[in-house]
């Protein structure tokens, strides 16, 4: 769990605490450059500006060859300072088409991808209790979502691009008469989310080939017969290092421990306490900006299920509730930021993050994992890769 370190001013001879940073260095991607005050900074400006000069020269050399290699652009937002090594690989293929006979959610045809049905319920904390018919619909769609994820799992290997995985997911959905829920949801451009290494969630599939040692999360949601089913798993690409194994294993355990506690009467706010306790015990942190959610006829709705401890989530778990738990656990600190694409969430410190998700139906005595794996003794895929 990274605490905020106190930094020392860079000026030679000055050891005051630094709370300010040079904005030009931020722009040029120069790490550090912390100073205690404007006056002190001015004092060392003559030497400091040499760093800018050098960084610009280096950049000019790289620019010509780096960015557009083999028609792939890995620097679509000049000036953006990446938190880790991952880069987008543009351009993306055009938005995929879904055959007309497949039922579409309301946002699929909205110009901004907005869901009127979700907006009309925004802010309410009333949690729907599903009827027997609704439960049947959810059971079916979650099973289909699981099938699609299992197919995606087969594609995970070094050299495969995330766009190729997305294409497979897209075809698997349409073959099952499902609409891939992420497609055009608030204008998301692809049919699933692929999150590599320091990406916490909502990674956009692109031209980047997977590299041996990567960890990859594939998040699948499908829409069938008026219902959505949502799940995700983190996989190893090729050989995983010990740190990756520990992170992924712990994240999976966080999810399963939370699921084990789900039964009528438990408060939704309690789940975050369980998850954070286990994550912290293993030296990891819990992402706070994204949380689990109710899901049925709407992709995202009440309840809100934060994964961190001491949260103010409203609601008591009752039979007939359906929701997801999807903890995102990090090697370093939990703070996140978003790429200029408006979607890709990455850790601020560039360290890796893993995630697992299930859609759950609350029963009288506990819950059913609607998205559980039916073969291989229900084990998550990564356990076969260790």
């Amino acid at each position: 769990m990274a605490a905020i370190e106190t930094r020392e001013c860079e000026t030679e001879g000055c050891s005051s605490e630094a709370k300010l940073q040079c904005p030009t260095c931020i722009k040029l991607g120069i790490q550090g450059s912390y100073f205690c005050s404007q006056e002190c900074f001015k004092g060392s400006w003559a030497t400091h500006k040499q760093m800018h000069k050098k960084a610009k020269e280096d950049k000019n050399q790289d620019e010509a060859k780096n960015c557009v290699e083999n028609d792939t652009n890995t620097d679509p937002w000049p000036g953006y300072r990446y938190t880790g090594k991952l880069r987008p690989h543009y351009p993306l293929t055009p938005m995929r088409h879904v055959p007309g006979n497949i039922e579409r959610p309301d946002y699929a045809d909205h110009p901004l991808g907005m869901s009127e049905s979700e907006q009309s319920l925004k802010g309410t904390s009333q949690i729907k209790i599903l009827s027997a018919e609704d439960i049947e619909g959810m059971t079916v769609v979650c099973k289909l979502a699981r099938e699609v994820l299992d197919i995606a799992a087969l594609m995970v290997k070094p050299g495969m691009t995330t766009e190729e995985i997305d294409y497979t997911v897209h075809l698997a959905c349409t073959a099952r008469n499902c609409y891939p829920s992420p497609l055009n949801y608030y204008n998301f451009p692809k049919s699933c989310c692929t999150s590599v290494n320091e990406v916490i969630c909502h990674g956009i599939p692109d031209r980047r080939p997977l590299v041996d040692g990567d960890i990859l999360n594939v998040d699948i949601t499908v829409y069938h017969n008026g219902f959505h089913g949502d799940l995700n798993e983190t996989f190893f690409v090729g050989e995983a290092d010990e740190g990756a194994k520990k992170l992924v294993q712990t994240t999976f355990e966080c999810l399963m421990q939370a699921i084990d506690s789900v039964k009528p009467g438990i408060r939704y706010r309690e789940l975050g306490n369980i998850i954070q306790k286990h994550a912290q015990a293993n030296g990891f942190s819990v992402v706070r900006s994204y949380c689990g959610h109710g899901i049925h006829k709407l992709f995202h709705t009440a309840p809100n299920v934060p994964h961190y401890a001491k949260n103010k989530a409203v609601g008591v778990i009752k039979p007939g509730h359906v929701f997801t738990i999807e903890p995102m656990i990090c090697e370093g600190a939990w703070q996140d930021e978003t790429w200029p694409d408006g979607w890709t969430a990455v850790t601020r410190d560039g360290k890796r993050s893993a995630q697992f998700e299930h859609t759950l139906l609350v029963t009288e005595t506990g819950c059913d994992i609607l998205t559980r794996r039916l073969d291989d003794h229900g084990r998550p895929h990564f356990l076969n890769q260790i």
Binding site: I4, S289, V314
Partner: protein, 362 residues
């Protein structure tokens, strides 16, 4: 490339959440057209003061715009900024778009000393407040300072369709501060009656009066209504609150307060509050469910040396330890409820029989 030789202005280190002492307060201002709200805000913006105050005007919280303008005042100068409201994933994001937009702006352009948010008169201050009343764990740069409702006499007394009168009452119920403007147009008796009406709805709210929208800024800012810095004041205020005594007006909003000596079990207290706020499990004598809009109190938790503050708006609530320690006097729990269909006897009875029983040892 000459400008590169100029020494740029340093910016705060990104990603460092501010410690509680450095967080920026937000006050939400609601009020009707014609109350003088905009005049007040313009007055605040143009008045000379040393603070960097941002005022976000109107329609905040309405989701569809992609950009919102923001007027910023610094040393009496006014300029405009733009908040980018990214349309990204509204779905499972814990922080509201508007909140994130303000945080992003502050990272780029530096911190404000204060943020005032004006909403349209009929916006639900509870809903807007919940956008800013985020869990301390989220490490936001912003904290909710309070709700301010701005109105004139007419809004409460005029013969209006019932809906509108109820609306004003609801706004008062959720307010931490109300400002009554144009008091120069009102005679002494009417003003007293107005103050009484406001008090009967909300026993805790601070009342300010003014003419021509001129208020003393120090009375409006730093209300600390939602944090535990005000612990001592809160305890004193709670002692002064009285339960509303009015002839039976079922649909009106009232204040109910009681105090009970002893210590409580935190778990059972949580269940009591959740049953009250979420399940709406308590009914008044007429069989109508009690609907609590605002909840404030100081409670004694068995085993904790510090006084614990209780705070609730609609269904959101929080228990927070204050820096105040219980002294040698017997510990007394004081609670104030503001809402509809509240019955003091029933509430107090339920409280004593469920919560107090278990944690009876001091």
């Amino acid at each position: 490339m000459d400008e590169d030789d100029d020494c740029p202005e340093l910016v705060p280190i990104a990603g460092n959440p501010l410690s509680p002492g450095e967080q920026i307060p937000v006050t939400i201002i609601t009020g009707y057209l014609g109350a003088g709200k905009t005049t007040l805000l313009n007055y605040i913006l143009t008045e000379q003061h040393n603070k960097r105050i941002a005022v976000i005007l109107n329609e905040f919280g309405e989701g569809s715009a992609l950009e919102k303008s923001l007027a910023v005042s610094q040393a009496g100068e006014l300029y405009e900024e733009w908040l980018e409201l990214r349309n990204g994933c509204l779905c499972c994001s814990v922080k509201d778009n508007g909140l994130k937009a303000i945080e992003n702006l502050m990272q780029k352009k530096g911190k404000f000393d204060y943020i005032l948010l004006e909403t349209t008169g009929l916006a639900d201050p509870g809903a807007v407040a919940s956008m800013f009343w985020v869990d301390a764990e989220l490490g936001s740069d912003i904290y909710l300072d309070g709700n301010c409702f701005y109105f004139v006499l007419n809004h409460l007394t005029e013969e209006k369709p019932e809906g509108l009168v109820n609306e004003a009452a609801r706004q008062i119920a959720l307010a931490d501060l109300t400002i009554i403007n144009k008091t120069d147009l009102v005679n002494g008796e009417e003003l007293n009656h107005l103050r009484d009406t406001v008090r009967s709805i909300n026993g805790l709210v601070k009342i300010l009066e003014c003419q021509k929208s001129r208020v003393d800024l120090s009375q409006v800012l730093d209300l600390h209504s939602f944090d535990n810095k005000d612990g001592v004041n809160l305890a004193e205020k709670l002692q002064l609150v009285k339960t509303t005594t009015r002839p039976h007006l079922d649909k009106s909003i009232l204040t109910v307060t009681f105090e009970v000596a002893g210590s409580l079990s935190e778990d059972v207290l949580n269940v009591f509050i959740q049953d009250l706020l979420w399940e709406k499990a308590f009914k008044n004598q007429a069989g109508l469910p009690m609907k609590v809009i605002r909840l404030k109190g100081i409670v004694s938790i068995a085993g904790k040396a510090n006084q614990v503050m209780l705070q609730g708006v609609h269904e959101l609530y929080e228990l927070d330890e204050t820096p105040q320690v219980w002294g040698k006097e017997p510990r007394v729990n004081r609670l104030v409820f503001i809402g509809r269909n509240l019955d003091r006897e029933i509430l107090q009875e339920q409280f004593i029989s469920t919560v107090l029983k278990v944690g009876d040892r001091n």
